[in-house]
Amino acid sequence: MSSLVKCPHCGLRPREEFAIRGEVATPRPKAGADESAWFDHVYLRDNPRGEHREYWHHAGGCRRWLVLSRNTVTHDISDVVDASTLKVGGDA
């Protein structure tokens, strides 16, 4: 990784086409959750050395949000999926 990403919709694309948001953190809390759950979600990160799931947006291509499973030490990508299929964001 870091040079090329295989978008599940568009195929191999350069890093320049993507915008990166960062770690797939705790799911977005449900309505009514307390402040500490929100604090966790908005601010805290695992930030691991090693396997990491993160949001990349294929801004210069299909404009889909992807979730990459990527190693933060080797930069190897083990998986790329469309974020909507994971339902990782949590629901309201």
Partner: protein, 991 residues
Amino acid sequence: MTSFRIEGGTLIDRNDVRSFTFNGTKLSGFAGDTVASALLANGKQVVGRSFKYHRPRGILSAGAAEPNALLTIGRDGRRDPNTRATIAELFDGLEARSQNCWPNVDFDVGAVNGLLGPFLGAGFYYKTFMWPAAFWEKVYEPIIRKAAGLGRAGYDPDPAYYEKCWAHCDVLVIGAGPSGLAAALTAGRSGARVIIADEGGQLGGGILAEGGMIGDKPADATLADIVGELHALPNVEIKTRTTIFGAYDDQVFGAVERVQKHLPESAINPDRAMERLWRIVAKHTILATGAEERPIVFGGNDRPGVMMAGAMRTYLNAFGVAPGKRVALFANNNQAYQTAIDLEARGIEVAAIIDPRTCPNTRYQGKARHIAGAMVRDTDGRKGIKSITVRHDDGRDEVINVDALAVSGGYSPIVHLACHRGAKPVWSDQHAGFMPPETSDGMTPAGAVAGNVGIASCFDAGAKAAVAALDALGFSAQPANLLGSDKSDDIRQDIVALWSVPSSMGKAFVDYQNDVTAGDINLAMREGYDHVELAKRYTTNGMATDQGKTSNVNAIGILAENKGVSPGEIGTTTFRPFYTPVSFGALVGASKGFEFQPVRKSPLHGWAVRNGAKFVETGLWYRSSWFPKDGETFWRDSVDREVLNVRSNVGICDVSTLGKIEIFGADAAEFLNRVYCNAFLKLPVGKARYGIMLREDGLVYDDGTTSCLAENHYFMTTTTALAAGVLTHLEFCAQVLWPDLDVRMASATDQWAQMAIAGPKTRDVLSQIIDDDISNEAFPFLAAREVSMFGGRLKGRLFRISFSGELAFEIAVPAGYGESVADAIMAAGKEHGIAPYGTEALGVMRIEKGHVTHAEINGTVTPADLGMGRMVSVKKDDFIGQVMNLREGLVDPSRPALVGIKPKSPSDKFATGSHILNVGDEVSLENDQGYVTSMCHSPNLGHAIGLALVKGGPERYGEEVVIWNGLAGSAVAGIICNPAFVDPENEKLHA
């Protein structure tokens, strides 16, 4: 004696004479020469001065590793400092100059530093120049800075064109020596897509230095056959003069092709790139980069006339240049003996071969005296070598007169590209070198880089490496046999490592370019900088433009010897791009000057030009900022007029750059309700609503209006600045947070030309163009719907919204029609005094009205800070930012809040970015009350007005404060007031 031209030279064309200048002297060489070979042919031995001691330096190598022969080539905008003479190809009219010397390279005043040597040891500057304290910056540092550096870069812009490209292949072969050529041919024949790149001007690598036979054919004939076949293969792309400078993730390689660097100015095609950056995407790579011959560290090893043995061969065989008349060879390995053989074959006397090995087993049968178990400990001669001092194994010294010395301390595989991604090379005692690491990411080393010696074994290794790689890629391939049945190739290296001659006299250089001596490395160790990385940083060994290509391994060897460990235990410093330095020009390509970033133009751009607009960059956009009329010399003249005209007549403004997003789907309303902090669920068809979007952390992100055009169809506008950001954010919400909602969106920014028509006479103008009834009853404030125009010839979208605070509409039409519609509006408005207004006037009017922009929405404010706290829904279940918006610090009553501000005395002026202080307070950060976010001259009020974020906010209306601008040395008495300076009751909006 010095170097001179002799017969032969496979690379040069004696019929094509090229003249050039060196330090102003006219010289000549041949096509095919490098600047280095041409200088040597002209007997120019001293070509530069060293960095610290200003020692005279000659040409050491024949390739990329050259530490000494750095010249400035060309002039003005085409001036290339620090160019290695050994790779610069000679062209007619080339101008080369020595660097780092004054008054000239032969007599350099800086050489007195040599006498100060003992004070200038490694890291001396850390220990001194501290007294008196003020002297460092005033006296010492300026002197150091003037002395430092090599070439001088000019300030002229470069007239050349540059560009960048992508390339794709199955197999990338890096290096076109015997191993690379065999690999490329093997891969090419299999049908795979192949790119073979070499930094040289010709394919061939080590073969080019080969004077004799390969198999049963002359070396150059063998090479010609291979190159011919490669050229004929359509699936093989050959890139010469192309350096692969970096290995990046996913087998993407950065390369720079010097497309026209070897051409005289008169032959340069200005439409072609001077240099071209390649990003090569490979499936597999064959690393065939060869090996770098290593110097040996001994006293006076930098004297001009001392040259790498392999380089000497290259000059002899490829360029027809002899290094001198009487040459000695100092080598610890068998391969180097080939230099002695070739010298003798050209009739040059080899005075002695000094070999530290006690009983070298070589096939050398020449005439030279063979001194085994011995080392060179010193050299003599002023501007060039005159003699060497040899220390025999019995401790006896012998002086031998020579005018050139060939040196070979072994070979360091060129492993850089295998290590750029973090892998470490592996030490091998057998090869006395660091070998490429085992990497798993599709790179196979072959040839000298993998320890192969001799052309036959390199051919073989290259071909086999390619077969293995192709196999993995699913191609079936046969190793190309380039030799027939060969035999000659059984050189055994039998190297015995020698880093530094212990009995050296005088300065023994490890890093020629940075003047790092063996003594410096020892000093670093003594002082605790004994880690290889610390030693590098303390002595600067390996940090010069050659990045230690010839010095790093020797430094490691010296450290290892001192510590009594293997060089493997010391390890190398980190290999990093760039393999050789790369110009900014190449990395930038065409994105320079005005082309730095693309321009976005509004569909009304042409209209604005025709109306005399002055433009301003806003992100990538050009927006019209004001429209000067005849006689208006100062921008404020125009802006004031435009504002007054809107407030009393009518004006038209291009707002096409606002972000526009079409939103569809059964759940679109629910979606909007969640992304805005205010309510959107019940927005009726035909209505627009102002909305505020928060970020999840509860602070305001963007504002804008969203209109309901039909059931399940909405049209959102965003600020120009955040148009892309908001779309991305909405996509995140829709795709990631709530993928179950049926909501779909598309950017429509470019589809619509949108203009605001504002002022009391707006309706008089628009009703001439719009077929529908736009009276206040039929089209009230915040109405939004499609309308018919020009008698049904065009449909547009009409919105009754106002940023200026006047009676206003925004009309959107398909972009291509924009100019015509704007013209029509101008024509219709003529009798009503219509005039275009730009972003400046827009800015004045919104400040007069107290409307916020990103000057206020600066990422640190809440809706309440902006006086819009009541918009934040307390009824909704959930929206972005709902919970974090309630944090203690975000509802703290002491937060600054939006107010208006004006000078107490109407003639006083103040600036945006001024801070607010309480009257009588001391000027200090603790007493800071807030700051002015926006200001303008209000032509309606006749004085300066501003918006500010001030502690206490609206509670302080009427209070006098100090508007403090320390930068301008001004402090103005100001009054805090309601930010709605004009029409606070909103009567005009609803007119």
